[in-house]
């Protein structure tokens, strides 16, 4: 079936550096993508999302890029801080013809981000 995967399972950066976490998806019908942050002992926390009619979206210190041609999604974190250390997941969703969500998300493998002070 459809799957969402990540290129890099682990990423280590120095505090203050920019981080880039990548995700490849295989379902070309997916039209909504979300990045989640999961800290130890907690549930996934929403970071940022993007719809397929966009190729870039910016939040506070985070940017998501979507390349539909190669089915690739990335999360950029600017000025990474130790508090950003966590596991990051991408997730995809496919809407029905009416534009409403099918509901269920398919998650990627996850990337462990470690930020060294």
């Amino acid at each position: 079936g459809e799957s969402v995967g990540l290129h890099l399972p682990t990423l280590s950066v120095q505090e203050g550096d920019n981080s880039i976490i990548n995700c490849a998806y295989s379902n070309s019908a997916s039209d909504y993508f979300i990045w989640y942050k999961q800290e130890s002992g907690k549930g996934p926390q929403f970071i940022i999302d993007i719809r397929s009619n966009m190729d870039k979206r910016q939040g506070q210190r985070v940017t998501v890029l979507l390349n539909k041609t190669v089915k690739h999604l990335s999360l950029q974190i600017a000025a990474t801080q130790p508090g950003d250390s966590a596991v990051y997941f991408c997730a995809e969703n496919k809407s029905n013809a009416g534009g409403t969500s099918y509901g269920k998300l398919t998650f990627g493998q996850g990337t462990i981000l470690t930020v060294h002070p």
């Binding site: 002992g41 996934p44 997730a91």
Partner: protein, 111 residues
């Protein structure tokens, strides 16, 4: 977005027993989702629970092993039945309400 309260937060259970996990939402939502996160892995959807109808299970998950109740629009339970050590995982509920929100999870250890 909705606020989800999930309990218990963790439990250690004997093999062969069952555990029921509760998920309470502060808003009325149509769909609730149950996920499993095995150690060191990503989230896998177990089933989708709509109020007033039977849950829809994903491939590899069956109702006898993971019965789900959805008595109203703010509450759902997932039972992990006849547990074995392979069921040791984090179980998470989620809702779609102005975005997808997750509970804090139930960390289950089966011994």
């Amino acid at each position: 977005s909705a606020v989800i309260s999930q309990k218990p937060s963790r439990d250690i259970c004997q093999r062969g027993t069952s555990l029921t996990i509760q998920c309470q939402v502060d808003s009325q939502v149509t769909m609730m989702f149950w996920y499993r996160q095995q150690p060191g892995q990503s989230l896998t959807l177990i089933a989708t629970a709509n109020q007033g109808s039977e849950a829809t299970y994903e491939s590899g998950f069956v109702i006898d092993k993971f019965p789900i109740s959805r008595p109203n629009l703010t509450f759902s339970t997932l039972t992990v039945s006849n547990m074995s050590p392979e069921d040791s995982s984090i179980y998470l509920c989620s809702v779609e309400y102005y975005g997808y929100t997750f509970g804090s999870g139930t960390r289950l250890t089966v011994v």
